[in-house]
């Protein structure tokens, strides 16, 4: 963040120590509805706009309106800012702004704090009239001290009440002002952003907010000694900042999708919220169907009629789509399905992150159902892969599954603004006459590829069917046709595989340990490995984007390392726990695939904490493996 030239306060600032840091983690936590999420997002946007790297993570309670002052009710945002690109949520927070001590405990529970974390804590609870509250507050203060946190008690509400009547509504902005002091931000920039955020709100509301912001800043300047500066590196690139679901929505528009057919399910739904608010501007529409089966059925109707559709879902919804995905494979209908993975199995942890759907997406359909599976690893890739996915779906005539997760879905990150290309858009529906000598499934025996007629194309008439069928799409009764058509559908994967390059190894090409990952863990894995390499460990990583077909050359890469393991956010039996052995153990999902694929003894370290893996969790796990041999 840039250091502000002037300080917009009517009070002389206290002299402060400014510490320059390359990255910093701030959390806002409040009861649900108190605005910590908004304040966090604003802070992230301001940081990004001033040129910092940023990664934000939403802190979301599981219930709509959880009880006040409860661990289950914590709502807010973590914002990690850095001089360079920030690729993940990082480890422990440097500063936490907490509206009460109970929501703070939910962060302590998940290990978000460390000794030395500075806590800016609302202090009104000390004098609260609510039964038990002052005691709980006092107890917590003592506990925090024992834990080595640096607590700054802040009279948030009291200060707000000096400016506005309803403190609950403005506390978040006041705290943003407080942070402006800590990071010595340019208040003009901040005000611009705040006003933009307030949008069409009344002049009075805007004035109130500015007053709160200023008050927070003033109080901070007067009362808080620590100052941090996260320097900015100059860049000429135009950047955008958004979360993964927004990136998917915009990517879908840029890719020329015109139909998103869905049924609401967390954490996928917000893709369609984003789309619904703007899709019509580019001529598209969101169909909210009566259920997930109808959603994909509707989508495949669109596909048959010439428009490659998008459908977005998550675990339980994915399960319901299984039968139709099988039809899409069998009848070779292009469709892009985004699965925003959440905690499973079953309803599981609906708002939490997991990478548990890989095997499901690969194998769920009864019978052989080869399909393409992609996994973006960054917010920018969420955008880009939509363009790739639509092209792949059409070229390879079938479903393309895009796996993201709750971490990408809600994580915000700046990335270079994509320059749209007309070729990204879907071409208009071809209505020229079809060459009647070409069969509707005229599979190229070498590639399995074929062209499909679209209703309206004269002479193209054919009847699509989920039954085994020949090149004419006629129901096949002979066994040779079944074998052949299965082969043709499978061959498409081999064809795509042929065009893929082996993944690049990050770090040295040989070494003691190679870590393989996929999806949202990219940044955290890289950061963990960088630390270990800095310590001198011979460790490298590979991150996969194509899971089906699996990227080529892995066996050869693996052979150059003493040991290979995956790091994943899904379940595996822990070989160190009593009763599990290398024999009876169930592996994490990518590890399982890689073992079958390469026959290398690929190990895994995986966890299902319902939250992203932090670099240090990974670092510790890897260190154990490095020292074990």
């Amino acid at each position: 963040m840039t250091t502000s030239a002037t300080v917009a306060t009517d009070q002389a600032p206290r002299p402060a120590t400014i510490r320059t840091v390359s990255q910093h983690i701030v959390e806002f936590v409040s009861d649900s509805g108190e605005g910590a999420q908004t304040a966090g997002q604003l802070f992230g946007t301001i940081a990004a706009k001033s040129g910092n790297g940023v990664w934000t993570v939403e802190i979301i309670p599981a219930e709509v309106e959880p009880p006040a002052r409860s661990r289950a009710g914590a709502s807010g945002n973590r914002v990690r800012v850095g001089t360079k690109e920030v690729t993940n949520m990082g480890d422990t927070a440097d500063i936490v702004i907490a509206f009460n001590e109970q929501v703070l405990y939910s962060r302590i529970d998940v290990g978000a704090l460390k000794q030395g974390t500075m806590i800016l804590l609302e202090n009104k609870w000390a004098k609260s009239g609510l039964p038990g509250v002052p005691e709980a507050y006092a107890e917590a203060l003592a506990d925090f001290a024992r834990r080595g946190y640096v607590v700054v008690e802040v009279p948030m509400e009291a200060e707000c009440l000096k400016v506005v009547k309803d403190a609950r509504r403005g506390k978040n902005i006041w705290c943003l002002g407080l942070l402006c002091a800590v990071y010595d931000l340019d208040m003009q920039h901040v005000e611009v952003e705040l006003k933009r955020k307030l949008g069409k709100k009344s002049a009075e509301v805007v004035a109130n907010n500015i007053a709160l912001l200023t008050s927070g800043r003033t109080w901070g300047d007067a009362n808080i000694e620590m100052r941090f500066n996260v320097p900015v590196e100059p860049t000429t690139q135009t950047m955008v900042v958004m979360n993964g679901n927004q990136a998917i929505a915009l990517g879908a528009m840029a890719a020329g999708f015109e139909v998103c057919s869905m049924y609401p399910i967390t954490p996928a739904t917000s893709v369609s919220h984003h789309l619904a608010s703007v899709f019509h501007r580019s001529g598209g529409f969101v169909h909210q169907a009566e259920d997930e089966i109808a959603a994909i059925g509707f989508a495949l109707g669109c596909a048959y009629a010439g428009k490659t559709p998008l459908t977005v879902t998550s675990g339980p919804g994915l399960a319901l789509k299984t039968e139709f995905i099988g039809l899409a494979v069998m009848a070779e209908l292009p469709i892009v399905l985004v699965d925003v993975q959440r905690g499973g199995p079953s309803t599981g942890l609906p708002t939490r992150v997991e990478q548990g759907d890989l095997l499901s997406v690969l194998f769920a359909e009864p019978g052989d159902a080869p399909k393409i599976i992609l996994a973006p690893a960054t917010i920018a890739e969420c955008f880009d892969f939509m363009i790739t996915a639509r092209k792949l779906a059409e070229t390879f005539r079938g479903p393309v599954m895009v796996l993201t997760d709750a971490n990408l879905a809600t994580g915000q990150q700046p990335f270079p603004r994509p320059e749209l290309k007309e070729e990204w858009l879907a071409p208009p529906i071809d209505q020229s006459a079809w060459d009647r000598t070409v069969r509707p499934y005229e599979w190229d025996p070498a590639t399995g590829l074929s062209q499909r007629p679209i209703p309206g194309q004269r002479n193209g008439n054919y009847v699509l069917t989920g039954l085994a069928h020949d090149e004419h799409s006629r129901v096949a009764y002979e066994s040779s046709i079944n074998q052949h058509s299965m082969e043709m559908r499978s061959r498409k994967l081999a064809t795509l595989l042929d065009s893929l390059k082996p993944p690049t190894v990050r770090g040295d090409d040989t070494g003691d340990l190679l870590v393989v990952g996929w999806g949202s863990t990219l940044g955290a894995i890289d950061e963990a490995i960088d630390r270990l390499r800095a310590e001198g460990h011979r460790i490298s990583s590979v991150h996969l984007r194509y899971l089906s077909p699996m990227e080529p050359g892995l066996k050869e890469i693996f052979a150059r390392f003493k040991k290979v393991m995956t790091v994943e956010i899904n379940y595996s039996d822990d070989v160190n726990a009593a009763g599990f052995t290398a024999q009876n153990r169930r592996y994490s999902q990518l590890a399982f695939l890689l073992r079958a694929q390469t026959l290398c003894d690929v190990d895994c370290w995986s966890r299902v904490p319902g939250s992203p893996l932090s670099p240090s969790m990974i670092e510790n796990a890897l260190r154990t493996h490095l020292t074990k041999g």
């Binding site: 528009m253 169909h287 109808a294 509707f298 749209l420 858009l425 193209g460 008439n461």
Partner: protein, 317 residues
């Protein structure tokens, strides 16, 4: 190119279609199966209306009746059991230019497809939906269907089925936004034809239940109604299905029913002592979801890109 000026359509005018132009693979239904009669009615209708074959799409689920698309020489979608209606809705969504016929069985529509049936009626997207109701699961060889009569002995209920049949008409008439509900019988080709013709002309989803004979598993099932025309209650009205004078003579049991009267339609749907045929209800002004889903199909790539660019800019840092 669809959505743009379609010059190529001009030469369509020169084409003339004969029955054969709508005849696909040779039907594989049992002889005497009522599906044959419905197929030929649709083919005749298509010929008479000169529907452009490549602009016509038949959609079906799975079942004997759902083999329908294979026997039409148009585009067709023989999809999954119970899921014809979502697929047809999807086909319609961006293609106001197509003619859509849906063939679905009583298992396909009223058992596994129930949710889609209810909601497709509500969406009221323009298409003709033919419920081929033989009161049994044909393709899977005689199981009870929701519309099977009580005590019907099937392979899943060898001691007789336990419940009274679900009435697809009264259910449909209970759904908000139902806009065209009719019933006919496969063995009266003239009435089937006129009913489907009215259905095709309807601006919205036309739901036609067709009592369909399955001689293979339900030999003689509708025989009584067939043999005794007085068991049919012919609903007539000048806003209803046009009735051939010969039909008027055949079906003595008649009633004048105004298809805009929903209350009366529901009452007739519940008729126990006779099988009402004709138009129960029609509302040409019901909301149509397909008018919404088709918005934007004419947009140029430039317009689309401009819009996406503008959206992207909102996220600039």
């Amino acid at each position: 190119m669809f959505g743009l000026k379609q010059d190529w359509q001009l030469d369509e005018k020169a084409r003339h279609f004969v029955l054969e132009d709508y005849e696909g693979a040779a039907p594989r239904w049992c002889s005497g199966c009522g599906d044959n009669a419905v197929l030929s009615a649709v083919q005749r209708l298509a010929r008479d209306l000169q529907l452009v074959p490549e602009k016509t799409v038949t959609v079906a689920g799975i079942g004997c009746s759902s083999r329908f698309p294979h026997y039409m020489k148009t585009y067709g979608f023989h999809g999954l059991h119970g899921r014809a209606l979502p697929v047809a809705s999807g086909v319609r969504a961006r293609r106001p230019d197509l003619d859509i016929f849906v063939a679905t069985g009583d298992g396909d529509c009223c058992a596994i497809g129930t949710a889609h049936w209810i909601h497709a009626i509500r969406y009221n997207m323009k298409m003709v939906v033919m419920l081929l109701d033989n009161n049994v699961y044909g393709l899977t060889k005689k199981q009870t269907s929701p519309t099977s009569r009580r005590s019907f002995t099937s392979n899943t209920h060898p001691q007789g089925s336990l419940l009274s049949p679900l009435n697809p008409l009264s259910v449909t008439l209970g759904i908000t936004n139902a806009s065209f509900v009719a019933q006919t019988v496969d063995w009266n080709p003239a009435h089937v034809y006129e009913t489907l013709k009215a259905a095709h002309a309807h601006p919205g989803l036309a739901f036609v239940r067709i009592l369909q004979r399955c001689p293979h598993f339900m030999d003689g099932h509708f025989q009584d109604i067939q043999d005794d025309p007085s068991k049919i209650l012919l609903m007539t009205h000048d806003k209803g299905i046009p009735i051939d004078p010969s039909l008027k003579r055949l079906f003595k049991n008649q009633v004048v029913h105004d298809p805009s009267d929903l209350d009366a339609a529901r009452r007739y749907a519940d008729t126990q002592d006779a099988v009402p045929i004709g138009l129960f209800y029609r509302n040409e002004h019901a909301e149509r979801y397909d008018l919404d889903t088709a918005r934007g199909i004419d947009m140029t790539p430039q317009q689309r890109m401009k819009a996406v660019d503008a959206e992207l800019d909102r996220f600039l840092v």
